[in-house]
Amino acid sequence: MAVHQKRYVLVIDSRKCIDCKACVVACRAENNVPLGYSRNWINEERRGEWPRLLAAFEPEQCQHCESPACVRVCPTGASYQRPDGIVAIRESECVGCRYCIIACPYDARFFREDKGIVEKCDFCAQRVDRGELPACVETCPSKVRVFGDINDPESKVRALLEKRRYRTKKPEAGTGPQIYYLL
């Protein structure tokens, strides 16, 4: 197979989300996210008139944008984008100006009072580099989340995006989000 530049993305099939919160706890454990903060969360929508009710659950986290606003505005380069598309933060370089938080259209980042730095989902880079799946992806009971290399024609994400219709969140924000929500 020809060597190609990897581009990691997440494909999410919200229809299958059962709001069990396994992903949230797995992330907390894997990344030592202190209580009170979270790198990922489940959006909830409840509508309808009895007995025609509807409840929809939608996982969200950093979108690992194509042109990340957070990286653009970061004055020190602490926020950076890896060649494989993962947008991460170099703790040592972060001065805690919080400019990136303001710049992120998805409110994916939070300021850690305890450390004085900013944190967010990094696709569990430490796991991905070991060849493992991100914690939230691996643990999800209904496999709502599919993680993979969109540049790999063989990949499951590619197959899904070719087969199914999808949308991205707030495309108008212009950062090119890389989480694809299947319709």
Binding site: Y37, S38, A69, R72, V73, C74, P75, T76, G77, E93, C94, V95, G96, C97, R98, Y99, I101, I102, A103, C104, P105, D107, F110, F111, R112, K115, G116, I117, V118, K170, E172, A173, G174, T175
Partner: protein
């Protein structure tokens, strides 16, 4: 997780930065306009501006540093230059500008003033005792673009953030620039008003004329900003609701627009106009001048207050 990350430290910082830029600008203007250094009123304004310019911006920078999550890592800001980051550019800009502003101030010091300063410094720094007065104009010319850049930067810092529709329009930068210059101008005016001399009225007239221009320009950007926003995409419309019938409506319309912009503008015009028309020296009531200046300063501060908070609250739905 929706809450405002940036608070008053940032607001004050933006305000003070603008203030310095404005003070320098007015001072430079005065020293460049006056022919053959004769006109006492001009040189007085120039001196006040020069004396004032370096300090607010330097205080502002300190505030910015203490607003950092890890203030002791602020030096990292200067170990990287990232042209895509307004904050990175800004940090450098502020340093350079402060430097020039200090030199410029030095150039306006009299022999004995310099002596007094030097005497307080360690011996080794004795060599600093140089008379730069000859370079005032050059320093003014050199500093002005930086002053203007700083004025613009305080706006760009916000304006460059695409994710906050309330900010993300090129008008913001200009709005902040003119507001910055006019608050600088107002600060100098206030200083002049506080230290009475017989040439007051000429000075006031000059300052007022400049400020009238600046405030008018600001006014003519605020209005298009609102109209442009109201006609823009939904997200911007929504964000505008924050000032047009939202948490900031009163602050914006009553305190900023009316009391901080239109009212002082009106006063200034009324004071200067008759003089221009009847070609007589206007007589200013110093107290009035002071009040007007304070109003302008308050307006400048409120503009930043409103934008920093409202902007952070605005978002794409």
């Amino acid at each position: 997780m929706k809450h405002t990350e940036w608070g008053f430290l940032i607001i004050i910082y933006l305000f003070l930065g603008g203030l310095s830029a404005g003070a320098f600008f007015v001072s430079a203007l005065a020293s460049l306009l006056q022919r053959n250094g004769s006109d006492a009123a001009y040189s007085r304004i120039a001196r006040y501006g020069a004396m004032l310019a370096p300090w607010p911006v330097m205080i502002g920078c300190t505030l910015l540093i203490f607003d950092l999550g890890r203030w002791y890592t602020f030096w990292k800001l200067f170990f990287h230059f990232r042209w895509t980051s307004p904050m990175s550019i800004g940090s450098w800009l502020l340093i350079v500008f402060s430097g020039i502003a200090l030199l410029y101030l030095w150039s306006w010091l009299s022999e004995e003033q310099r002596k007094r300063v030097i005497s307080k410094l360690p011996r080794r720094l004795g060599f600093l005792n140089r008379d730069l007065s000859a370079y005032r104009r050059q320093l003014a010319v050199l500093g002005t673009p930086f002053a203007i850049a700083v004025g613009i930067y305080t706006g760009v810092l916000l304006g460059a953030v695409q994710s906050r529709p309330f900010w993300n329009t090129n008008l913001v930068a200009q709005m902040f620039l003119f507001s910055a210059l006019s608050s600088g101008c107002a600060a100098v005016t206030l200083l002049t008003a506080l230290r009475r001399e017989e040439n007051d009225s000429r000075a006031f007239q000059l300052l007022y004329t400049v400020d009238i221009w600046l405030l008018t320009l600001e006014l003519f950007i605020v209005i298009p900003y609102l109209i442009h926003g109201a006609l823009s995409v939904q997200a911007v419309k929504d964000s505008l609701a924050l000032v047009l019938g939202g948490p900031f409506t009163v602050t914006f319309w009553l305190f900023f627009l009316t009391a901080g912009l239109v009212l002082p503008l009106a006063i200034e015009v009324l004071e200067v106009l008759p003089a221009l028309v009847r070609r007589v020296n206007p007589h200013f009531r110093t107290s009035m001048v002071a009040v007007t200046a304070i109003l302008v300063l308050a307006g400048g501060f409120l503009l930043r207050y409103i934008f920093v908070f409202a902007g952070q609250m605005s978002a794409f739905k």
